[in-house]
């Protein structure tokens, strides 16, 4: 016997929603999925009329669905937003070059302007060259730190009021678990918030897909026949995050509601007064948001340029020792030159 759609619309159910376990037909699923994102946006006041919003687009499923849904809701509910696509080209051959083609396809499909910024022009390094220098370990640290700052730089360039990223419920739950596993209270505090940043000198980031399950995003993209790019990055995937991810997938199999429960738990966590709070400031060197002086991007970049790629990895004091040693050697060499020049 065919299963009928839960909404009593009379159609046959085409899928079972992972989030609620309800059997729905395609049209009802679209309606519910979009209504939820609209509810998230309106109840959290993510945008204001007349704002210019950058959609961080990688060409993957999350950002493709985000761009599609934001455009649709903007028209349906008359948000009055000006949407632009913002992509970062990390310079990874065989991965980012292909996915950027997908973003260009999105640009044409959704009629949104697209801005692509590359690591090459911002930092003078591509990920291919960075990996050639530091190898396969810790390369995600460089990529992640640079991408986050590159998004800020791009947003400033475009003059937008906020950046919308495609982080979904699974991503957030996974991050809660990971921050507990590594005892990172500073990030545990903020990783569940739907809006981060947004002081006087920073551009806020919002996560309209915060409550959307990854599985449903894939289903939505599939049934809507959206074009997206689904290859993993060619450089080694992040091992530690992989553990948290696999664990979450296992948990989800046992109890699908676990994703929302973990987000809820993450929001409910309170910290003792004795736990240090990070202070958000701006980097004295580059002027972008950072909780450290100088910011991580500047330290990593300095390491690359000095030929000490491990500078920003590990303890700060270790990095300082490395710099001091190199400066000493340089001074020695200069002195040697001086002696030579005296002749």
């Amino acid at each position: 016997m065919p299963i009928i759609c839960k909404s009593k619309c009379g159609n046959r159910a085409a899928l079972k929603r992972p989030k609620t376990g309800d059997a729905l037909c395609k049209e009802c699923f679209f309606a519910a999925f979009e209504a939820e994102i609209h509810h998230t946006i309106s109840s959290s006041n993510l945008f204001r009329r007349g704002e210019k919003v950058a959609v961080a687009a990688s060409g993957g499923k999350d950002s493709t669905v985000l761009a599609h849904v934001l455009k649709l809701l903007n028209e349906r509910h008359n948000y009055g937003l000006e949407l632009v696509l913002l992509s970062i080209d990390e310079g990874i051959t065989g991965y980012r070059d292909d996915s950027l083609e997908t973003v260009k396809q999105n640009r044409d499909d959704y009629q949104m302007p697209l801005k692509i910024l590359s690591y090459e022009e911002l930092y003078g390094w591509t990920m291919d060259r960075i990996v050639a220098q530091i190898g396969r370990s810790n390369n995600c640290t460089f990529c992640g730190v640079f991408r986050r700052q590159a998004l800020d730089r791009g947003a400033k360039l475009l003059g937008v009021d906020s950046i919308a990223t495609g982080h979904n419920a699974d991503d957030i739950a996974e991050t809660v678990l990971m921050n507990v596993l590594r005892g990172d209270t500073a990030r545990l505090r903020r990783c569940t918030s739907i809006r981060t940043g947004g002081g006087e000198d920073s551009i806020p980031r919002v996560k309209p897909l915060k409550y959307s399950y990854e599985k449903e995003i894939v289903m939505y993209a599939h049934y809507k026949k959206l074009v997206y790019f689904s290859t993993e990055c060619v450089f080694a995937p992040n091992a530690y995050r992989g553990h948290a991810r696999a664990f979450l997938k296992d948990l989800e199999k046992v109890r699908p509601s676990v994703i929302m429960d973990i987000i809820y738990s993450g929001e409910q966590l309170r910290f003792k007064d004795t736990v240090k709070k990070p202070e958000r400031g701006t980097c004295t060197r580059c002027g972008f948001v950072s909780s450290q002086q100088p910011c991580k991007a500047c330290v990593l970049l300095e390491g690359l340029n000095r030929g000490l790629p491990k500078l920003g990895i590990g303890k700060k004091t270790k990095g300082e020792r490395m710099i001091a040693k190199q400066n000493q050697e340089l001074a020695l060499r200069e002195r040697a030159n001086l002696v030579k020049n005296d002749f």
Binding site: T175, K253, R255, D261, S265, S290
Partner: protein, 405 residues
């Protein structure tokens, strides 16, 4: 986009600082000179991150951890009435032995409290043969003058008996077993049982006029418990689940976990040094036999054990995260009628989003027709009439008929 961590650590987090190696657990003993007292000993105890030491030095070190946990926090008043919970595990025997030792020392060093021991018989709920009474009676003679009591899980607190009067009750069923059978998932059953066990221990403590209860959870238990609480949606109260002091019990009974700083290796060494005989193997708790993927609790426990193998500092890092969090507390706010954790006063956006999903799934395409207050409907679903917290509601939802309490 593969990451949402920020700034300084990047995606690898602090993993570069984690040592990818761990010494095999198990007893590493070899003859030699103790590095502390320099006395030659046939058996040297070599703990991870410590030099090899003789039996006496090891025992002094392990016992100090127990005393320090109680002493530093100053939470045990002088001459307090203490109830020690014995479940037959290695950890609970270590706790019993340590407490006994602390009471036999000279006046200057003695731990001033009056202790009783209650053995919680869980075998019937787990569907196994009852424990050997003889082994239990031997314990009670060995650890005189402590009074030993026995209570069966699921029985009324009034059915508690002194060990010399105790004989296993014949009726194979009780109400708790019925309720457990009604719950659909093992996750809910384990969560429910844990709460019921706590309530029972609290009632027993009140019967015996004890103000403090000692539980024998060690660091790995608490690390697992923290992650489990988060997965169950108990983030607001997770801090109390892993803290030294849990004051959620009724009647002002306080639950203490004085072994929280000990690790598995220390327990194994202590058992060996004192020739203790645990009544049960480790990991014999309810529902473990159904396998790793049978419940959230089993999965979490396996996950922590597995990660500990590859990243030796996993348990201590998670455990220390637990030390940094505080419970959601508000004296004016009412607490959950089942688990007694503080209820979340404001409506949470996440909980509303869950109910909203259910509402729009039921509405389907008809939600395009205006005039429906879907958010209002979702809020109505969320209204807390039953006095249960989010996680306890999940248990109640699995109970097809009848009330949780």
């Amino acid at each position: 986009m593969c990451s949402i961590g920020e700034d300084d650590f990047g995606d690898d987090g602090a993993t570069h600082a984690m040592v990818v190696e761990s010494l095999p657990l198990g007893i590493v003993l070899s003859p030699g000179n103790c590095s502390k007292c320099d006395v030659n000993s046939g058996e040297l105890y070599k703990l991870n991150f410590r030099t090899a030491e003789c039996r006496e030095c090891f025992l002094a070190y392990a016992r100090h951890k127990f005393r320090a946990a109680l002493g530093a926090a100053k939470i045990l008043p002088r001459n307090a009435e203490v109830l020690l919970v014995l479940d037959g595990s290695a950890e609970s025997l270590v706790l019993l032995d340590m407490l006994h030792f602390a009471q036999t020392q000279n006046t200057f060093k003695r731990l001033h409290c009056n202790a009783r021991v209650v053995y919680v018989e869980e075998q019937k709920v787990q569907g196994r043969d009852p424990v050997h009474l003889e082994a239990l009676q031997n314990l009670s003679t060995q650890y005189a003058p402590f009074d030993f009591y026995v209570i069966e899980l699921g029985a009324l607190p009034s059915s508690m008996q002194r060990i010399k009067d105790y004989s296993p009750s014949l009726n194979a069923n009780n109400e708790l077993i019925h309720k457990l059978q009604k719950l659909r998932s093992l996750t809910a059953r384990q969560d429910y049982l844990q709460q019921q066990r706590k309530n029972l221990i609290c009632s027993v403590a009140q019967c015996l006029q004890c103000t403090h209860v000692f539980e024998s959870n060690i660091s790995v238990d608490l690390a697992t418990q923290l992650l489990t609480a988060i997965a169950l949606g108990r983030g607001g109260s997770a801090a109390l689940d892993v803290a030294l002091l849990d004051d959620r019990l009724s009647g002002d009974v306080k639950l203490l976990r004085p072994l929280k700083d000990l690790n598995e290796q220390e327990i194994q060494f202590y058992i060996h040094a004192q020739r203790l005989k645990p009544l049960f193997e480790k990991g014999s708790c309810f529902g473990r036999e159904h396998g790793q993927t049978a419940s959230l609790q089993n999965l979490t426990s396996a996950f922590v054990a597995n990660l500990q193998q590859n990243y030796a500092s996993t348990v201590s890092t998670v455990f220390r995260t637990g030390d940094k969090i505080a419970a959601n507390s508000n004296p004016e706010q009412s607490s959950c009628v089942h688990c007694r954790s503080t209820l979340d006063s404001e409506i949470s956006d996440t909980l509303l989003a869950i109910e909203y999903s259910r509402t729009v799934s039921e509405a389907g395409v008809s939600l395009y027709k205006s005039g429906q207050d879907l958010e209002g409907l979702a809020k109505k679903r969320l209204e807390n009439k039953d006095g249960l917290c989010h996680a306890c509601r999940a248990i109640q939802a699995e109970l097809d008929s009848g009330n949780l309490l």
